[in-house]
């Protein structure tokens, strides 16, 4: 495979501060984010030649956005695999830049489920957005009351059964993430919680409690990715993409062991392509739709053995100051989760690699290497996984 290490860098980012935005449209939030991210990079509208986005509600997402912003990109990619879409976009954008098709790519996203009153986690069949089920697979599934949280809860249940994982161990993931949210003024929930608070919160779908679930917020943001030549002229220290790997996992015609996540297919290749190993990472952003998502992803990325995730996340290891701080912005569990959250994983790892919080508790000291793993879809039915390795010089 061609060595794509440092073939492109993240040069501009913006996270829209809105968590509840009933007066804005998704395209407006995307456009505001793109403009700010270009400003952050020191680039302008005319520099944009690649457009990457995905939407839960805007049809033909990129075409609509190009129209709204009066852009004429040469390369468009609407890859839509749920929350991990943006880790997929990043890899595709690196390839497009490395091949010389484009020099500057914008990756952007927004959605407004909070002001829209959309029950993403417990909406059941309504989450599909179509009144008529497709002949397969929906017609074999939705009669039984699948929910997003239920499809993660089922794997949590089996994880507990096979390995003795406890609700307290899952609770530590939510508590650690909340302790990070306390340091993020934009986070939706900032009051401290304990693992026991998670266990004591209302059961939503056994064994997952309310505080095992991510928040539902509005939001959006943008990332600007550029070739090394452009990156050198940009305002900020470049955050280099060392590698990206993507994959999917599904029922495998009913024969697959669903306990194996897509992360098991992408973690190894991403680290090999980057020429790094687990111990090298200063931090990680691990998609946290639910606490179990984090625990199983860490295992399948190989940070610990299968079944040992509960132990791994304990004892402060994943908190700021620990061996592998994760989700240092407060994650989906506490900061924001506008439907698909993969973009925000790239934003926070970039902020940390830039040293943006230097001199405060939120900064991962001397942060040079970060792992990002996005998850999209639902674990027990079908999901996507995208691993990205980012570094600063």
């Amino acid at each position: 495979m061609v060595d794509l290490r440092r073939a492109a860098a993240i040069v501009g980012i913006y996270e829209h501060p809105a968590r509840y935005a009933p007066d804005k449209s998704e395209l407006q939030i995307q456009a505001e984010s793109v403009i700010k991210a270009l400003e952050d990079a020191g680039l302008s509208k005319k520099d944009v030649d690649g457009l990457f986005s995905s939407s839960m509600s805007v049809r033909m997402a990129n075409l609509s956005l190009a129209d709204y912003m009066d852009l004429y990109p040469k390369h468009l990619d609407d890859t839509s695999v749920g929350g991990a879409s943006f880790e997929f976009h990043l890899g595709h954008a690196v390839s497009a830049i490395a091949s010389g098709r484009i020099d500057v790519a914008v990756i952007t996203y927004s959605t407004l489920p909070r002001s829209g009153g959309i029950s993403i986690g417990t909406g059941g069949a309504a989450r599909l957005g179509a009144p008529r089920l497709n002949p397969a697979p929906d017609s074999f599934e939705e009669l039984y009351g699948l929910t997003t949280v239920g499809l993660y809860a089922m794997l949590a249940q089996r994880h507990m059964h096979l390995y003795g994982t406890t609700s307290e161990q899952l609770g530590e993931i939510a508590a650690a993430t909340r302790s990070h949210a306390a340091l993020n003024p934009q986070a939706l929930y900032r009051d401290p919680i304990t693992p026991q608070d998670v266990v004591n919160s209302r059961m939503i779908s056994d064994p997952l409690h309310l505080l095992d679930c991510c928040v539902i917020s509005d939001g959006g943001g943008a990332v600007v990715l550029a070739s090394p030549e452009v990156a050198r002229s940009c305002r900020n220290t470049p955050v280099w993409v060392l590698s990206q790997a993507e994959g999917v996992a599904h029922q495998g015609a009913g024969r697959r062991d669903l306990m194996n996540l897509a992360a098991a297919q992408t973690g190894g290749p991403a680290m090999a392509a980057a020429g790094v190993t687990h111990d090298d990472f200063d931090m990680a952003m691990i998609y946290d739709s639910f606490t179990i998502t984090v625990l199983m992803t860490l295992e399948d990325l190989g940070f610990c053995k299968k079944g040992e995730g509960g132990q791994f996340v304990s004892g402060g290891r994943i908190r700021l100051g620990g061996e592998l701080p994760i989700n240092t912005d407060g994650g989906g569990l506490s900061s924001n989760h506008p439907g698909m959250r993969g973009l925000f994983l790239l934003l926070e790892s970039t902020r940390q690699l830039r040293g943006q919080f230097e001199g405060t508790e939120r900064q991962v000291p001397n942060c040079k290497l970060a792992l990002v793993h996005g998850t999209g879809g639902t674990l027990a039915a079908r999901h996507s996984g995208g691993t990205v390795v980012l570094a600063r010089d």
Binding site: Q251, A253, R255
Partner: protein
């Protein structure tokens, strides 16, 4: 389930034999005549070997709970009736399917519990398979 308020399947030629089987009280799954793998959900190709001829076969209707969750909250009409068990059932033939475990206390369900198929008529066209503890 006196009145069916849940979503109804969309039935086309590709999956018709499955739903006809349900109406007769038979759980039909597919097996490839070339590679002999079973598959579920039903589809128009053998997803394993691509070259096979798909044959509908009657499953024993017996299996075990592979995993499950007691769902407390689902805003879709038909599911506001209190906690229910969403499960993945592993059939004796080795394939897994989504279903509900019925005719028992939701909080008594366990992974590995033996279950058997039972059919519920949704309306004059549609009958759907559920599972209950094997007796």
């Amino acid at each position: 389930m006196t009145e069916w308020k849940r979503p109804l399947p969309t039935i086309t030629g590709e999956t018709m034999p499955y739903w006809e089987g349900c109406r007769r009280g038979e759980l039909l799954i597919q097996r490839c005549q070339d590679c002999h793998e079973y598959q579920f959900y039903p589809r128009g190709i053998c997803a394993n070997c691509f070259t096979g001829k798909i044959k509908w076969v009657k499953a024993s209707g017996k299996g075990a709970v592979w995993t499950f969750t007691v769902t407390r909250q689902n805003r879709t009409p038909g599911f506001d009736t209190g906690p229910y068990v969403l499960a993945l059932v592993e059939l004796e033939e080795g394939v897994k399917m989504f279903s509900n475990i019925v005719e028992c206390d939701p909080f008594e369900v366990r992974i590995g519990m033996p279950v058997e198929v039972t059919f519920v008529k949704a309306n004059s066209q549609v009958t759907t398979p559920f599972f209950r503890p094997a007796g």
